[in-house]
Symmetry: C2
Subunit: 244 residues, 2 copies
Amino acid sequence: MRISELAERTGVSVPTLKFYLREGLLDKGETTAATRAEYGAEHVDRVRLISALTAVRELPLARVRDILRLIDHPADDPVLAMGAAVSALPPYVLPADAAMRESADPAGPEPADTRTREPGDPVRYPRARRAIELLGMEFDPNWPATAQLEAALLGLEQAGLPWDDARAKRYGAAMLSVAKQELKTIAAMTPQQAVSYSVLGTALYEPVLLALRRLAHRSLIDQMAPGAADAGPDAATAPSPPAG
Amino acid sequence: MRISELAERTGVSVPTLKFYLREGLLDKGETTAATRAEYGAEHVDRVRLISALTAVRELPLARVRDILRLIDHPADDPVLAMGAAVSALPPYVLPADAAMRESADPAGPEPADTRTREPGDPVRYPRARRAIELLGMEFDPNWPATAQLEAALLGLEQAGLPWDDARAKRYGAAMLSVAKQELKTIAAMTPQQAVSYSVLGTALYEPVLLALRRLAHRSLIDQMAPGAADAGPDAATAPSPPAG
DNA sequence: TAATACTGGGTACTGTCACTATCCAACGCC
DNA sequence: GGCGTTGGATAGTGACAGTACCCAGTATTA
């Protein structure tokens, strides 16, 4: 098919497809003449994937590129691939970043104090460590998600939201249950498939989880106060003009 | 305190604080003279909150503004506030958006077909509906998270990732457990607090959940293949140069 | 054969975002 | 009374994700 058909089938405009081609996100079609190239089903799939990653996850194209590279040149080792995927997805945390921001204290200490740790040095991630060990998992400061957890917990703290062991256990148990389900699928795959699945899975199951959590909230609130969410709230929570 | 001290305490530069003031994200300090204003603890808290929202969630400032407005002018009704919060957080989905993209089929049908539904019309969200009803929750196409779920499931589909009832049940149960924990906290709050908590909670607990899921994956994989993740993977999953 | 429409490929431009930079006059403290 | 700091404003920056435009070669049609 030609580029215009590719555009039609994927809902992505021709100029944007050209842009993706230029950026190397999309392979060139098979050139049949100086101004003619043929695109196939694999191009459709690729564009769909890019769309899913940008539309659903709002990922910057640079990260989409990272993820596509992981899928195109799999690392064979799912742990490796997942680590890379985790690094490619928000929240983006540089290795020592979470610990660096530590210095912002009400007392107003010298920031130079905590910066004595070099970026390459092992950092402690105290909040993440406590949660991880509480859940019986092994604490590994080099696993990207560890820094992400620390940053997230620091965010909670700065916003004054509660975080305690009971909560950590509940959250951890829930996510372990989810993860078990996902890894059941992986076990039956070839390494190649597993890599692709773990990378895309991290990118695309997460929004599902979050949406379900938000739906669960609504559902539970309705159960708590039936009738309160009948007419009033709906009208306001889903404003008719989408421009809102 | 003066603006320079506010900057010091929060780790945000003075020009950036000025920018936040201009943008109305931050209240002006109490003016004591034409070129003098006094900032207080509430300003420190506000800046911390903005930082948490932008750094942890990578939210665009416009969304941060929405969220701050929700907290400043609470709707009294937590359901209302949560709906608004859900709308303010990624994945950003316009009400009819998920259903619109439906038209992108391999067969290549006329897009005009599905576009006969007007943006204000009720849309079906078939994937979301099935999942929601499977979990025994009430399907409400006007709840923002419904559209978000549909978009997320559509993303899975486009990427060719598995999604079935068993998975939906497992995910749903996990998130219901999390949601129950969170609402336990809310029940003991004043409406004011509840609003603030539900808004911030949606914004800031989500990254925690995702980080835990990623950690759980790693942990489970290590249990499956002990030793495989000892030296090799770590070195590569956490590249020493943060520029990666 | 000629006119027309559509490519592939390239360069240059646009709008948005989240800051930065720079300026200025008015403090305030020493 | 001099000098650094502040509030307030205007303008500029760099990254990002496309868009617009142009050209010449190709396919289709007249």
